[in-house]
Every structure is written in structure tokens, then in C-alpha cells.
Symmetry: C2
Subunit: 312 residues, 2 copies
């Protein structure tokens, strides 16, 4: 395999999905990072070459870069440590956007590296290594971005010990409009402001909404999906970090979105919509609303059944 290189793409993702704090997420299509990997010797240090719109903002020290941290953990587990790993990372996703930017880099690196080594692991088995990248990026080895970024589609992280991930099929007509306001929210900050203890009554309400949300997804019942999208854990605290969130949400619902919430730890905002055409209208309405608050933003549109990582 020396000298050969493999390139993979892994998409951005929406973690939490509003009411699924820390255990739900889905992949987005289109936006994502691209990584080329090669092993250039029987021994040797890791080299990282950055490119792409946000490449200059990412550390090139192997111990601080999510792609290399994940890749090195994988190489070590497979007995290929110190083989002159070279990572070329085209960083297309903005940092601190709430769109799974760090996860996209590590997922792409692992997907490419697995192929380079002759696929010793299934895609699902790459998730724990990608989680090591998340630990570097935000202090918590969470899977709600890396799992959808690798596997695609909509995932539920049922348990971390043992790791138990369930992938569910979403209605084909279900689309997501994401807007990314041009501000940055550090995941660590977004976690620190959460309440550590939740009143029992709120827990019951949250669980009941989760039960109905999943029922809506699996029965393709858009009304149930909409009625249940009410997060009592993260959104009430995190909106303070996203100026204009309330108005953007009102604009989304007013334009016909089924539901709307914070993507990951923000500042990106997602809205679920029935049909691709409506999702563009909803995204424009949210963008216009943020513009009224003086905030520029970018738009991303995707099915909820989007593909995960793939080779290029």
C-alpha cells in the first residue's frame, strides 16, 4: 500500500435534532470535508497538509487535528502505527458551526484509511476511532455527529457502553433546511450553560415527545413529527448564544416548516420540511430573518436519508 493514496468525502451532520440532545443525528448531503490519505514508509512521522476555505484555521500538529487523531488511533489498533501517514485535508466546513465540522474531517480520514488498508473494519466499526477526534475537538467523545457522517441517514445512539447505534429510515419527502449564521459557538461553551439536573416532570415530557417524534418518523406522519418537536433540555438555554434564533424559528414555521431547532450546539439552525422545494423557501425565510438582525448566513438543503462517507 506504500505510495498509494485514497480519497474520501464525509458529509456535515445535524446532531441533537432539537429534542434528541446527545443521542440523535443525521447526515447532510453536499457539504463536507475531503481527505486523502497515504502511508509513505515503514517508519515516519505524520504529515498534515491543509487546504479548502477553512484549512488555515485548523492545527497541523497531529495531536491536535481531529482527522489525524482519529487516523492514528485506527492505525495503532490495526498495527500500522508510525508508517509515515500523510493526510491532505480539504476543510470545507466552518468550525464551531454546529454542523459536525470536526466529525466530517475524522470520518473522511477514517473512511479513506480503512479502504487503503483493505477494509479491515466495517464502517460502523470506525465510529469509536472517529469519536477520539471529537474528544480532541470539544472535550467529549460523542458520536451523534461522527455516526451519521460515516453511516449516513438518521441515527440513534442508544448507548456508549457498549456502543449501540440504531439507524432508522426517514420519510423520503422529509428534507432539512440548515442555515449557518456567521458567528461561532464553541461546543464546550454550549455544554457549560446547560442545566445539570432536570425536573422529573420535564423529563417525562421530553421522553413522551421523543416517543411521538420517532413514531412520526417511522409512520411517515408529518403532523406527529411537528407536534413533538419541542426540546426542553438544550434549546431553552442555548438560544442565548444565537441572536435572532426565535425570529428565525418563527419565520421557518410561518413558511411551512414542520419543526425547527438548533443544529448540534449551534449556531446553525435546522428546519424539517415536507419536500425539497419548501425547504429552500424555509431556508430563505430564515436567512432573511437573520439578515434583519444584521447576521449573514449560508444555506444547506438535504434529505434526511443522505449518504454518509464515500470514496472519491
Amino acid at each position: 500500500m506504500n505510495g498509494r493514496s485514497v480519497t474520501a468525502f464525509a458529509p456535515a451532520s445535524v446532531a441533537n435534532v432539537g429534542l434528541g440532545f446527545d443521542f440523535m443525528g443525521f447526515a447532510l448531503s453536499g457539504a463536507g470535508d475531503r481527505v486523502t490519505v497515504s502511508l509513505n514508509g515503514s517508519t515516519g512521522d505524520t504529515t498534515i497538509i491543509m487546504s479548502g476555505e477553512y484549512g488555515s484555521l485548523i492545527p497541523v500538529e497531529p495531536a491536535k487535528n481531529t482527522a489525524s487523531v482519529a487516523a492514528i488511533a485506527f492505525l495503532k489498533a490495526k498495527g500500522y502505527e508510525g508508517k509515515g501517514l500523510k493526510i491532505e485535508l480539504e476543510k470545507n466546513l466552518p468550525l464551531g458551526s454546529g454542523m459536525g465540522s470536526s466529525a466530517s474531517s475524522s470520518a473522511a480520514a477514517l473512511f479513506a484509511l480503512n479502504e487503503l488498508l483493505g477494509n479491515p473494519s466495517t464502517t460502523g466499526e470506525l465510529i469509536p476511532f472517529a469519536m477520539e477526534g471529537e474528544r480532541i475537538a470539544c472535550g467529549t467523545a460523542h458520536a451523534d455527529n461522527v455516526a451519521p457522517s460515516l453511516l449516513g441517514g438518521f441515527v440513534i445512539i442508544r448507548s456508549y457502553d457498549p456502543l449501540d447505534i440504531v439507524r432508522i429510515k426517514c420519510p423520503d419527502e422529509l428534507y432539512c433546511a440548515v442555515i449557518h449564521p456567521h458567528i461561532q459557538v464553541r461546543t464546550a461553551d454550549a455544554r457549560r450553560i446547560l442545566k445539570r439536573e432536570i425536573p422529573l416532570g420535564d423529563v417525562t415530557k421530553q421522553c413522551a415527545n421523543v416517543a411521538v417524534f420517532i413514531t412520526g418518523i417511522l409512520r411517515e406522519d408529518y403532523d406527529l413529527i411537528g407536534r413533538s418537536m419541542d426540546d426542553l433540555l438544550a434549546e431553552p438555554k442555548r438560544i442565548q448564544l444565537i441572536p435572532g434564533f426565535d425570529n428565525a424559528k418563527k419565520a421557518a414555521i410561518g413558511t411551512g416548516a414542520i419543526g425547527c431547532g438548533i443544529s448540534g450546539s449551534g449556531p446553525s439552525i435546522f428546519a424539517l420540511c415536507r419536500g425539497e422545494a419548501l425547504s429552500f423557501k424555509v431556508a430563505e425565510a430564515m436567512k432573511g430573518s437573520l439578515m434583519d438582525s444584521g447576521l449573514e448566513s449560508d444555506i444547506f438543503i438535504s434529505s434526511l436519508n443522505a449518504q454518509g462517507a464515500y470514496l472519491i
Copy 2:
């Protein structure tokens, strides 16, 4: 309608279903209370006549009996207050059993009364009146017993304000074994011992398990149902009220049950099983285990898609 009488049956139910504290429940077939109602005059007081195995344990004062409290609330709403209501309640379900005994009485009374009045309400519209019976019985107007007892099947109470109840279809092969140990647990006691605040990490785990449980139910995936049946809210506290619960649960799982938990606020214990034959074996194993602790118990077996209230 004077002089005419109508009789209805409403089944017992399993509330909470382990991990669905205060928002999930399903009806049981076979066991339940039977109520005959009549209106005997243009004016007149309410009369209650009790019968059945547990009839002597129920108050006959109209303000303290769940069936009459629910019925009077309904009559008042429909403009038939003080018309000489007569309730004959055959009380077949033990009190404080965790099998929705009080709900069964009020559901049967309302179902019969609605028929007597020419069905001014849908069955779903009877739920708020049945909840008034629960308020008398245990201090909280909850719906996780009355809704399945009236509607049948498996229900999710998404919200109380507005009341929003979602009924879901369960796998046809899914059966429930319930054993009722001959001890009594007061719902008020079972509620008082719960933690009022839940750590955020536990909330995430509970929500994730709920999401996977519902996925398992709707996809008919028994493995997912089993993996997800792990309650962090009620069971860890309430097992202290049910001697022998741990061993009964081990016996159930060891005999092949998919999952096992406390029915309602206990002391009844339920186990989900694939197939009716296995559910009998599981029930016998649980009964034997409790017997080892010196505790007698009764067995109830039911599909999860059991019928709700019906006329006789």
C-alpha cells in the same frame, strides 16, 4: 333513557411500561371491571351498588368512588347532572395492584354512560373525565391507565395541555405476562420516593432508550425492544417497595422474556414476551420466584393490542 340500563367492561392496564414513566401504557385483555349505569329520574342522588371480589373495599360515597366521580363529571358536562344516576360496579381488580384498577372502574362507567346518552362523545373524548377518577384515587389526574383502558392497545400520552394521545400498533406476536403479588403499594407512596431532579446524562440515556424502544415496537424488532428496556427513573427507586422484584425479573429474562419491569407503580410486574405460549412460561417462572420469597401472586396474560372498553 329513564329506566334503561347499559353495561360495559373496561380492562386492566399496564402503565409506564418500565421506561415510559407517566406517558406510556397498554391495555390487558380478560381482567377488568364491569359497570352497569342507569338514570332513574329527572332529579335524584347518585346511588352506588358494589359487587365482585374487591367490591367491599371500595367507598360507596359518590365523591370518593372513581366510577361515580368520572360519571358525574361527564353528566355535568353533558347537562344531565342530578338525574338519579345509579352505578352497579362489579369490582374484579385488586386495589393498589399497579394494574390500573381505579381506571378500569371509571372507564367502564363512562363507556356505559356515553352509550346510555346516545354517544355524545367519542371514546377518546371520555379520557379527561376518566382522569378525574384518577385524581380521586391517587391525587394525580394521569391518563396512562385510563387511556389504554378506554381505547385499548398501546398509547403514548404526548401532552396533557392540550391532551394529546397517540396510539401505536404493536407486533402481533408481542405478549405480556403480568404477575400480581399479594401485597399493596399505594400510588402516592410510589410517587413520593422518586427523585425530583434527574441528572442530565441519565435523561439522555432514558430518551435514547425510549427512541429505540419505539423503533423496536414499530419495526417489530424484538431485539431492539429488549435492548432498550432499561428504566433509570422509576424502577431503581420503586424496587424497594416490591420484595423479590430483582429475582422475578431475573427469572423472567432467564426464561426468555424480552424485557421486564414494574407495572404502573407496582407491585405488579410485567414481562414482554414473543408469543403467548412463552408468556405463560415466563409468568410461571416469575410466580415461582416470588413464591421462593414467600409471596403469593396471580397471573394475567395479554396481547399488547388488546381491546379497550366494550359494551356487554
